[in-house]
């Protein structure tokens, strides 16, 4: 099948639109942009809509929250995207209503229900990182991102499921439950932020926070048909994010539209004195330059240089995924972009380098779960047994495997062969990205080599699962921002499954990514990325 895409450039130029899974019949009604009910077109910002109805007093925050909570209660038994649902959501919503009533100023995210991945600390809810090692653990502090969200008026609705400590690509690695994909309950939502992606996709919340170490925001965004943003390393404080691989971890955003994602990112970005690696750069108002569809010129992206990464549309990638991405490229070209092919020769080295670095750092970051201060402690008569047994009982097999790999890679005599070389590869990758981004405004690639797969399909084949990260890990190694946008569908067995494509930008240039993404999203004809599970709530 891959032979059919030997010449993607040609394909881009000549592939007729019908080969893409763009629905051509339905156009989005612009009058609905500011519709006051949540029952609106998917690519319309839920946050802006909600804000408008709150401030115009057409509905209250409690009513809006109740609508989401009702949907959450209805879908949760099938999806299992939440590990904990807040009991205070309605109380907090009522407080916002009171403030609006008193004509007090409310934050930009007032009344917005945000789901938070369970590896991000919340003071009033358990934060288990999906691990038995932290079962019942309630941190005494909010992560900086969560604190900022609360300050801007958002309501944390609950904690979402994930692969234990973020190690996995399916959310099957959770110690507590397996989350299903809202598009097809027999499939995985992706991972590790599968719970956050599924929750946004099923409209259980407005937006959600995830974390992205090797693609953990972008791959589930693609699988669940939502917008996922991995910001530049340092854009968002990691304080309060349970560390997996500190030099790669970033907190990312999920939204059902680019606007929501941009608003969420703006709310959580900025320097934090509690994170020495957080950047002091100014945070632009990411959504201020967004132009409504009505006002768009015929070629709104004229002159924008887009590079499609050749290595990502090659062997091993699902041809349907390739054609979707090429379709997206085609669409960008139609918007005025200059699309060219770019080669990143070091691309394939990213995967092994990533697994060495991430495992090494995780072996160290996870040392603190020794059962002494928090989490489950196994009673033992002797110190080493206390450590050994507590850790044996606390960690799942994937985590253990990565700790072992990381410990090995850092051991005396192996450090140079593994860790050090991986760092060298990382430098190479950073350089090649830099070069490619000097010649292009954005780079595009698939977000994952395939669409969502069946639950259990890759559970016993870790290498196949690791290979699924090929599209995303390089971006983490380079520390760059990337936006995943749903761009089409691939027919599954029973239903069509969403596909996303990845746009990679220069460091700290999230603004450009979001701007391009917004135009792309607004002009994408007829795609409805509301899963059938909740489609009744959102008639188009």
């Amino acid at each position: 099948m891959l032979s059919s895409v030997q010449n993607p450039r040609f394909l881009l130029l000549h592939l007729p639109p019908k080969h893409l899974h763009f629905a051509t019949t339905k156009a989005i009604h612009t009058s609905q942009t500011l519709a006051l009910s949540p029952s609106t077109s998917p690519s319309v910002s839920q946050i802006l809509t909600l804000r408008h109805s709150l401030l115009s007093r057409r509905s209250t925050a409690v009513e809006l929250a109740e609508a989401y909570l009702a949907r959450l209660r209805r879908t949760e038994p099938q999806l299992k995207s939440f590990l904990h649902v807040s009991e205070n959501a309605l109380k907090e919503a009522a407080e916002i209503d009171r403030r609006i009533e008193r004509n007090e100023a409310v934050g930009p995210m007032a009344g917005v229900l945000v789901a938070v991945k369970d590896n991000i600390c919340t003071a009033d809810m358990p934060s288990t990182a999906g691990s038995r090692a932290l079962e019942g653990y309630r941190p005494p502090f909010d992560a900086t991102a969560v604190r900022k969200l609360r300050e801007s008026g958002a309501i944390v609705i609950g904690k979402t499921n994930l692969d234990e400590f973020g190690m996995g690509s399916t959310t099957e690695g959770s110690a507590y439950q397996v989350t299903a994909n809202p598009w097809d309950l027999s499939r995985v939502p992706g991972g590790s932020s599968g719970g956050s992606a599924a929750a946004v996709s099923a409209r259980q919340c407005v937006v959600s926070l995830g974390s992205d170490t090797g693609g953990s925001v972008r791959q589930p965004a693609s699988f669940c048909g939502v917008v996922g943003l991995k910001p530049t390393y340092g854009r968002v404080s990691r304080y309060g994010l349970v560390a997996y691989a500190s030099s790669l971890d970033v907190i990312g955003c999920f939204g059902s539209s680019v606007t929501d994602t941009g608003i969420l990112l703006h709310a959580i970005s900025g320097h934090d004195r509690f994170d020495a690696t957080s950047s002091k750069r100014q945070v632009p108002a990411f959504t201020s330059q967004f132009i409504s569809k009505d006002l768009l010129e015929s070629k709104p992206l004229k002159g924008l240089r887009v590079g499609i990464i050749r290595e990502t549309i090659d062997d091993g990638v699902d041809p349907d995924v390739i054609s979707s991405v090429c379709g997206a490229a085609c669409h960008l070209e139609a918007l005025g972009c200059i699309v060219t092919e770019v080669s990143l020769p070091s691309f394939s080295l990213g995967l092994p380098a990533y697994y060495i670095l991430a495992s090494s750092e995780s072996s160290s970051n996870l040392s603190r779960y020794d059962g002494v201060r928090y989490g489950n402690q196994v009673v033992a008569g002797e110190l080493n047994s206390l450590y050994g047994n507590s850790r044996a009982k606390g960690f799942g097999s994937e985590v253990k495997m990565r700790i072992l790999m990381g410990t090995y890679a850092l051991s005396a005599g192996y450090y140079d062969a593994y860790y050090k070389r991986a760092q060298q590869v990382r430098t190479l990758i950073q350089k090649s990205f830099k070069e490619a981004l000097d010649n292009n405004d954005v780079l595009i690639s698939p977000a994952a080599p395939s669409v969502a797969y069946k639950i259990g399909e890759k559970k016993n084949d870790p290498l196949a699962m690791y290979a699924g990260d090929i599209m995303t890990v390089n971006v983490n190694l380079a520390g760059l921002p990337a936006l995943v946008l749903p761009c089409g569908f691939v027919e599954g067995e029973s239903t069509s499954l969403p596909v996303g494509f990845q746009m990679i930008g220069a460091a700290f240039d999230e603004e450009k990514l979001l701007k391009v993404g917004h135009i792309f999203e607004q002009t994408l004809q007829g795609c409805n990325f509301v899963p059938p599970l909740v489609a009744d709530d959102f008639p188009c």
């Binding site: 304080y239 560390a243 500190s246 160290s364 040392s367 201060r373 206390l386």
Partner: protein, 783 residues
């Protein structure tokens, strides 16, 4: 221990300082350390001056260490004096309740991240510069990983392959009593890290019940690693002491060993002299004082050498040993089976540490004067090494001294006042010099007033104590107490005394010049008020006999550095004064003569000798007695060589002679002041290749002395370094003399204010008797 041959400390061969090149081999060393207390100031823990006591192992150590040399390196953890911890904003202070000053970061909670306290870098750069290190402009933090309950995160943030500073050195001066000399020890590296937590055991032994206190967790440390340049316990202890001074001068740490703010882990190995490879090294921990460092190393050297001698060197394994202060030995703590793998890797949570040239320069410019610079400066001022070491030891004392000098005070006089009365006061009151009410300006004023003749030394002392305790100014106090007396009044008194003692006057005129002291005493006792009113020396210039003048001069000379050098500071001048007054009283009341005896005292410029002198003056001699100060010179003694650098050579005389000359003369003067009614003779003899003990014995017989007094010293360190020699094997000079002298021989050691005596007698208490008896008699005669 007989003649202990001071084999000397091996120094680095290419030391750029001449001190290091002394032929210290074949040098005799007599008295011991611990004989006198350091006359130092303030709290004892702040004084890194060493105290090394005698040790039961000494003889064994002495024998076994022959033919081996020890290689010693030290790792020192300096707890930084920052307000907050290294990577979070928790305050910390010693003694806080466990688990009170903690936060998610130092608890290592999930999600918490370290953020470097910028003070830590500043302090590291300061110490790096002070240790003459090369600074890394780009350094980084690494994680050192191991599991232990004191480590909340499971790793320690440290620096591994790129320390912030490396390749430096530290200069120091070994105190005279330990052999003196300048040393330079290499510094391998200085790096930043965080402290681990502290384990508090609850007693039931279960780990789950154990409390880990992250109180200390995250406290910033600098680890200073030395080159293996040290060879003896004393050198190692002095290295640690110098490091303590340095961190205190820099203000980067309080340097208290008791509180664990300065922790030394010592690595010791021994090898046969001449062997190039190092022996197996052993690490010693739990060293809470400088003397513990010295003693632990000496013990460890002997342990290892013994194993070598018994062909059991295979039993020396790489291990960590603990110093057991109670048992005075090292015991195995844990054996190292291979190198532990700490799996270091760069700390991803912290950015690189990048130092700008400007930043470094600004810190370099802000560095205070460091101990070494201070010592060299004081040395250039003409102070003796002992003075220099005392003054430069404590930054507060040094600052006080400098401020006094700035106010124009005479350098030597200022040093003497500070090291004498002020230090004694500080010690008694347990105050630091800043906590006394005295200010440098007033000390300068006091010195000037005495020098200018406005007041006498004795009155100066009174004013000093007044100012130390209550404050005030010299001028104000003089005025308040009306201390300057009319010279005419003194003349009147002199006239009266002379008129009232025609008999003594006649005897004096007949040649009994010793009576001059008697006259002085009479004047002083004229009435109680008058004692205080020691007028200007010039007041008595018209005294027809000159005795009064002599007395006045003696009194004022008490404060002169030249007459009371540093080693005599061990001998509190106040006591002398007190004794003088007592004695005068006794003279007045009793008036009669006691049978004169001859006391011979072995006089050297050492503390031990000063103690012996003190004993002799207070307990052995009485009026009309003869005190012979016997000085046995050895032209080859290291001290003489040493003094060549210390004392500016006087033209036409050998430097060494002038030094000893000065100190023996000073002793003589002290005797005359303390006991004006005795006859003091000085006898100088040469060793001529004989044993010192034999020479002393010979001269005591020659003079038919009734009592022989000698300072005694016992030191583990000397025992180890020294070598036995000839017939006196196993005994030291004092022991030899006690065994062999025909007269009463008293060996004096001083422990604090008390004398420790040994003699032929079983009951040493009666050696203190003469004065006590005398005193009782006086009391009896009064009632």
């Amino acid at each position: 221990m007989a003649l202990t041959l001071f084999r000397g400390i091996q120094t680095r061969p290419f030391l750029p300082y001449p001190y290091g090149l002394f032929p210290r081999k074949h040098v005799l060393f007599y008295a011991t350390m611990k004989s006198t207390q350091t006359q130092t100031a303030t709290h004892e823990k702040e004084q890194p001056l060493l105290k090394v006591s005698s040790h039961t192992h000494s003889k064994r150590l002495d024998n076994v260490s022959k033919g081996y040399e020890a290689i010693i390196g030290i790792e020192t953890h300096v707890q930084l004096y920052t307000l907050t911890k290294a990577f979070c904003s928790c305050p910390y202070s010693y003694g806080s309740q466990p688990n009170t000053t903690i936060c998610p970061i130092c608890m290592g909670l999930p999600g918490a991240l370290p953020v470097l306290n910028s003070k830590v870098i500043e302090f590291a750069v300061k110490l790096g510069l002070a240790l003459n290190c090369k600074l890394s402009l780009n350094s980084k933090f690494d994680r050192k990983q191991y599991f232990y309950p004191d480590l909340p995160k499971g790793y320690q943030i440290s620096q591994f392959d790129i320390p912030i500073a490396s390749g430096g050195f530290i200069d120091l001066d070994i105190p005279v009593e330990f052999g003196g000399g300048h040393r330079r020890f290499g510094i391998t590296r200085v790096h930043m890290e965080e402290d681990a937590g502290k384990l508090l055991h609850t007693g039931n032994g279960s780990y789950s019940e154990e409390i880990t206190s992250p109180l200390l967790a995250g406290v910033p440390l600098l680890e200073v690693v030395s080159e293996p340049d040290m060879r003896t316990g004393i050198e190692a202890a002095e290295y640690a002491a110098e490091l303590q001074r340095l961190v205190r001068f820099l203000g980067v740490s309080n340097g208290n060993m008791q509180e664990g703010s300065l922790r030394c882990d010592v690595n010791v190995s021994v090898r046969p002299i001449g062997q190039l490879e190092f022996g197996t090294k052993v690490e010693i921990k739990n060293l809470n004082s400088f003397s513990a460092i010295s003693r632990a190393i000496d013990f460890e050297i002997s342990r290892q050498v013994l194993l070598h001698n018994e062909n059991q060197s295979i039993q020396i394994v790489q291990e960590t040993r603990l110093w057991d202060e109670g048992a005075q030995k090292t015991v195995t703590m844990r054996k190292k089976e291979g190198l532990s793998d700490y799996r270091y890797f760069p700390e991803p949570d912290l950015p690189e540490v990048i130092l700008g040239k400007e930043y470094i320069d600004s810190i370099r410019d802000s560095l205070p004067e460091l101990p070494e610079m201070k010592r060299r400066r004081y040395e250039k001022m003409g102070l003796s090494m002992q003075d220099v070491l005392f003054l430069a030891n404590d930054i507060n004392v040094a600052d006080f001294f400098d401020a006094t000098i700035d106010k124009g005070a005479d350098v030597k006089l200022a040093a003497n006042w500070i090291m004498g009365d002020i230090a004694a006061y500080m010690k008694n009151e347990k105050l630091s010099i800043n906590e006394t009410k005295l200010i440098p300006q007033e000390l300068a004023e006091l010195i000037a007033s005495i020098k200018g003749g406005t007041i006498s030394g004795k009155i100066g002392k009174e004013i000093l104590f007044e100012m130390l305790g209550k404050g005030g100014t010299v001028k104000g106090l003089i005025k308040e107490k009306d201390l300057i007396v009319d010279p005419v009044e003194i003349e009147k008194m002199v006239d009266k005394v002379i008129a009232e003692n025609p008999k003594q006057l006649e005897q004096y005129r007949g040649g009994r010049t010793k009576l001059q002291g008697y006259f002085a005493g009479q004047v002083q006792n004229f009435d109680n008020e008058t004692i205080k009113r020691q007028g200007k020396p010039s007041a008595s210039e018209q005294d027809p006999f000159g005795e009064i003048k002599c007395q006045e001069l003696r009194m004022s000379k008490l404060d002169d550095r030249y007459f009371a050098p540093a080693w005599l500071q061990a001998f509190p001048l106040r006591d002398v004064q007190q004794h003088l007054d007592d004695n005068n009283a006794a003279t007045t009341m009793e008036g009669g003569a006691t049978p004169a005896k001859k006391v011979m005292m072995v006089a050297d410029p050492t503390r031990e000798s000063a103690a012996a002198l003190q004993y002799a003056l207070f307990h052995a001699v009485f009026e009309h007695d003869t005190l012979i100060l016997l000085h046995v010179g050895n032209p080859y003694a290291w001290k003489n060589l040493f003094s060549f650098f210390k004392w500016p050579a006087t033209p036409g005389a050998s430097a060494s002679v002038s030094y000893n000359e000065g100190s023996i003369s000073a002793m003589k003067r002290t005797c005359e002041i303390a006991q004006p009614k005795i006859c003091v003779l000085v006898e100088r003899v040469e060793m001529d290749g004989k044993e010192k003990a034999a020479v002393i014995l010979h001269h005591s017989t020659l003079h038919s002395a009734d009592i022989l007094v000698i300072g005694q010293k016992r030191s583990l360190s000397n025992a180890i370094l020294g070598q036995r020699n000839g017939s006196l094997r196993g005994l030291d000079t004092a022991e030899y003399l006690i065994e062999n002298s025909k007269c009463t021989c008293v060996a004096v050691q001083k422990k604090g204010p008390k004398f420790r005596l040994s003699s032929q007698y079983e009951n040493q208490q009666k050696l203190l008797a003469p004065r006590i008896t005398k005193h009782n008699t006086i009391l009896a005669s009064v009632t």
